[in-house]
């Protein structure tokens, strides 16, 4: 029974609850036990089993009364970047190690109101800055997948939402929240063999999500299949008066609309994404994905996104600049860590030196430099101009196609410790996800196969702004064709 409870889809679970095949409490307990069994992965910063079981009891009452909500009792893992009222929220940083919000983020509130039950707050790169979940103050997260050729190696789950991706992949939760600034939901989804979606910038409220780079940050959704991710995003999305950048657009019923076939859709393949040194496996899976969509009735067209090679450096000016400004609030006065000093300035400096890790300091300093007098135009304004060119590239491409198919990441999961001595090499892991982020476009990563090490690889589908429906439709068609069924060992032992 337990292993069945850990591998169902959202729709199957809701049906099972409704038909009293199992209770919300049994469902919640099974996931809490799996979370405890998987502690060695370090996917959770704070576990919340008592709260989860109390909510499960309430869910059981509702089910008995026939008052089930949209996602009643669905087990959820919450990225520890979403502020949760009364539950410690750390951003995986020493500076917020003991921060207990007195308010709830809009997205986590909406998920709670829809009935989901959060079993814990997941580990991440500190302040969501990283692509491997190795910059967390609480230590790295381990990917539940193992390489066939080197099973002794501990692999990264991707980042920054590595704990959330690992939790869903290991069956600890059915769904998980992520955030995505440059690929932080899509890339870990690819590394962990699950689905990860980032909606259009403005689709979800950012209120209560600890800010990294505000012009790029969006909430994301992890699930084990496309439909579940669509059901989850529907709940998360919508206008919020507390976030003036959240859109008033109507939120479509993504899950209902995505099942339409893709006959006649034009799928763009950007020629600039065939980067040097891309592993053959990634290339093969990309080609195969395109073939599958073609067989499903889509037309494959080559497109050009000429400024692709500038996307990563553009991002690494824009995002740190915004981060340096956003993180100025951590000064040891109103909340968070304080390290005393002889005067106020020294208190600030000591607090921030002790509270932030190396990657966060690196980005704050890059951002500070790029925004400083004399360099602002050369770096920040220049990067913003190139950001427009990148956005224009997509606009031109979408004249010729309805969705874009790319690899999600240039590699599968690598070992903890690899790439960590070279920031630029690490930054290039987001080469396929960053351009869509800069243009504010929706993107989804769908598991598309295993490489020669037996590790999952995802394909990314990028949609037009506000057209998540076509993105989901394409993703669903791809998922049907791939029929990805591989699972990490861990989920089977439960």
């Amino acid at each position: 029974m337990t292993s069945k409870l850990l591998s169902m889809t959202v729709t199957e679970t809701l049906t099972g609850l409704k038909n009293k095949e199992f209770s919300a409490t049994e469902l919640t307990k099974a996931h809490i036990e799996q979370m405890e069994a998987c502690r060695s992965l370090n996917a959770m910063i704070t576990e919340t089993p008592e709260q989860a079981l109390a909510e499960a009891a309430q869910s059981d009452e509702r089910i008995a009364k026939g008052e089930m909500r949209e996602l009643e009792a669905i087990p959820m893992a919450m990225k520890d970047l979403f502020c949760t009222k009364g539950v410690r929220t750390t951003a995986a940083s020493h500076i917020l190690e003991n921060f207990i919000p007195t308010y709830e983020s809009t997205v986590s509130q909406k998920l709670k109101d829809a009935g989901t039950i959060t079993i814990g707050k997941t580990n991440l790169d500190e302040f969501a800055m990283g692509g491997a979940n190795i910059t967390s103050y609480f230590g790295p997260v381990e990917n539940p997948w193992k390489s066939k050729t080197a099973p002794e190696k501990k692999l990264v789950p991707g980042g920054s939402s590595g704990g959330s991706a690992a939790a869903v992949a290991a069956g600890m939760s059915m769904l998980a929240t992520g955030t995505d600034t440059g690929g932080s939901t899509r890339q870990p989804a690819s590394f962990c063999g699950i689905v990860g979606v980032k909606p259009t910038y403005g689709r979800c409220s950012r209120w209560g999500i600890i800010a990294f780079a505000s012009s790029l940050d969006q909430a994301g959704a992890f699930a084990r299949n496309v439909e579940d991710s669509a059901l989850m995003l529907k709940v998360m999305a919508g206008h919020d008066a507390k976030d003036s950048t959240s859109a008033r657009h109507e939120v479509p019923d993504f899950a209902a609309l995505m099942k339409q076939d893709i006959k006649g859709l034009k799928i763009g393949i950007p020629k600039e994404y065939r980067v040097d040194g891309m592993p053959q496996d990634v290339l093969d899976i990309w080609n195969k994905g395109a073939e599958m969509l073609k067989s499903a009735g889509a037309e494959i067209v080559e497109i050009s996104l000429p400024h692709t090679k500038y996307a990563v450096p553009t991002y690494y000016i824009v995002a740190p600049a915004e981060a340096s400004s956003n993180l100025a609030r951590y000064d040891g006065v109103r909340y968070g860590l304080r390290e005393e000093g002889k005067d106020l300035q020294e208190m600030y400096e000591n607090t921030r030196a002790a509270g932030f890790g190396a990657e966060v300091k690196r980005r704050i300093m890059i951002g500070t430099y790029c925004l400083s007098a004399g360099y602002y135009d050369a770096y920040y304004t220049k990067a913003q101009r190139i950001r427009r060119l990148i956005s224009n590239d997509f606009a031109a491409a979408f004249e010729k196609c309805d969705a874009i198919l790319t690899p999600t990441a240039p590699s599968s999961a690598f070992a903890i410790g690899e790439n960590s001595d070279d920031p630029i090499k690490m930054y290039l892991g987001d080469v396929f996800t960053i351009p869509a982020s800069l243009a504010g476009l929706p993107g989804i990563s769908v598991p598309a196969g295993l490489d020669d090490q037996g590790l999952p690889l995802g394909l990314q589908i990028i949609g037009r702004a506000w057209d998540e429906v076509t993105m989901f439709r394409t993703a669903f068609a791809l998922e049907q064709a791939v029929a990805f069924s591989a699972q990490p060992e861990l989920i089977k032992v439960a």
Binding site: R334, D343, A353, K382, P423
Partner: protein
């Protein structure tokens, strides 16, 4: 453009992050590498291109200038390292 240790020291001061001599040795080459890598942006012709700050093209809405919340002093102070009688407390700044 070169990022030497004195530049890092200046940036760290602007960012209010205390750095040791060891930190300067660690960060200077890294920041130098990252910024030289970003130099490639200079080769792009951006004349006449407007900087893009807001991708959503949603006009920011205005609301009436009214208090929408308040009376949450305890909430606001709840996570402060030090408070006295409803105030945040910091090191003395006036002699």
């Amino acid at each position: 453009m070169s990022i030497d240790k004195s530049t890092v020291s200046k940036i760290a001061n602007l960012a209010r992050i205390k750095v040791t001599e060891q930190d300067l040795d660690y960060y200077a080459p890294q920041l130098q590498n990252i910024l030289s890598w970003a130099e490639q942006l200079q080769e792009v012709d951006t004349s006449g291109v407007e900087p893009l700050a807001n991708v959503s093209e949603i006009a920011l809405s205005l609301r009436k200038d009214e208090v929408t919340d308040g009376n949450i002093q305890q909430d606001i102070l709840a996570n402060a390292p030090e408070t006295v009688e409803g105030f945040f407390v910091v090191t003395k700044i006036v002699e």
